[in-house]
Symmetry: C2
Subunit: 320 residues, 2 copies
Amino acid sequence: MSRRVTVEEAAALLREADDILLLLHQYPDGDTIGSGYALAMALTALGKRVRPVCSDPIPHKYDFLTEGTEFPVFTPAFICAMDVADTKLLGKLAEQGAAANLCIDHHATNVEYAENLLLDASCGAAAMVVYRVIRALGVPLDRRMAECLYTGLATDTGCFKYPNTTPEAHRIAAELMEEGARYAMINESMFDRKTRARMDLERLALAGMQYHFNGRCAVMVITNRMVEETGAAEDDMEGLAPLPRQIEGVWVGVTLREKADGTFKASIRTGDKVNAADIAAYLGGGGHRGAAGCAVNRPLNEAVARVLEAVAARVDNINA
Amino acid sequence: MSRRVTVEEAAALLREADDILLLLHQYPDGDTIGSGYALAMALTALGKRVRPVCSDPIPHKYDFLTEGTEFPVFTPAFICAMDVADTKLLGKLAEQGAAANLCIDHHATNVEYAENLLLDASCGAAAMVVYRVIRALGVPLDRRMAECLYTGLATDTGCFKYPNTTPEAHRIAAELMEEGARYAMINESMFDRKTRARMDLERLALAGMQYHFNGRCAVMVITNRMVEETGAAEDDMEGLAPLPRQIEGVWVGVTLREKADGTFKASIRTGDKVNAADIAAYLGGGGHRGAAGCAVNRPLNEAVARVLEAVAARVDNINA
């Protein structure tokens, strides 16, 4: 169990610390990167030695956040995890995670591995919590910090579209824009740019969309062959999982992604009527009400059948 | 030329008026509908007789805004156009438009047909201007008005994604959420729901994407046959035009939509590097820097060739 700390207490811990390592989660997204780099810049401004680290390389689409930054190398005296709910999500940095002095997060599912935990699950993005911490540290925001925070905020809230968006998220966005965050450029590159490979992959995946239970469940399959054929990279897979659920009349959208060994993993997305976590739990996975996932260690046809079995078992009236 | 009025002056005109007709533009979108219905509700709350009217039926996706509203029928004594830059955009209500006492708008291109004009081109949505008017009228916002205004604001700013989004847009969104606007439901139905026909149409259109000038120009064609084959309705066409430009490396995205007579109309979308209006002008059309359009009265192959000719003529270095 962690000691729960307030924004002011977290800021005090950071103010007293130096040689601070900031841990980002694996498969880094806009929120962990934006949160980590914003705090790194703020702590640097306070004269501290600080370094954000990640077990995976930062995808090139975030170059505009990291470009030109240089952080010193040192033996860490204080470790702070950014947007990391569990040390399992740290990849080869799990050991550093187990020694974390502080974790700044917004996941209700945080397993409380860090000594101190600043958690606000009402925030749509960890970047909102980091925004408060930087304010409490008294560091004036500059354009670069504002762009880091804006990126975290926008990516985790689906550009203010998802239910996790709060009035505070909008008010922080307004301030970050006033600090000079190039929001239009950020939004375009986060939400409106696709590689040709991604376009092609989407087209192939849409072509194979299966409808079940009178169109209430849609299943989209992404095979290794499609990935090879289109030349899609790991980055190109991002944001595919919601597509089946976007179809009118669909209660349960499932994306089955083939793994290297020919078995599948399932991403399950649902609307108000259905709890995705229930369906995932039936298959040994977990997640949230609206989005959950699990491994389905079977070849394609059996994997689809298993998923449909889970849907039928856990969703009332899907056949009605 | 119109007399330019301030928010307070516009509110005063409305406060003194009664039997007020609110004109929405043809092919009504979220902003004209949201703006018109919000103001209608606010004026009704002030005890006035008011009625929003449109030359076209309101699409069903906006039912949640209009449902249960009932407005009286009367001989108008005051006419106010909502989000209407030109009487040409009023369809069969153009005559009423020519007699407009007031126009509330955010288009810099407003042709000043109304007696009085409240225009703020810095606003991403007319709903922002209407928000200020309702505040000036002193009518407390309720959930329904908030949902009308939120819908206008979100749809015209691409859910706060487009360059026209301002800090004020975010702050107004925050207030509308606090008044109870069901933003998650609204965003889902405005941005994240597609009919099966739309999904299928998108897939067919993506399959035929053509790349020219080393991938700097992408052309997507939507034929009548695709529309028939998928059963897509007019509503399903919305939002297709930006797709070619979303592909990485594309400077100029063109969508060619077949008309009933087998000739085409072109929607041109560009990024920073290229002026879409220039390309459209070459073909006898017009528009904005980032989005423009024109008719290309030729069969498919000739239409594509004409568009490519215009692109080559108006875009420097497209062949470099």
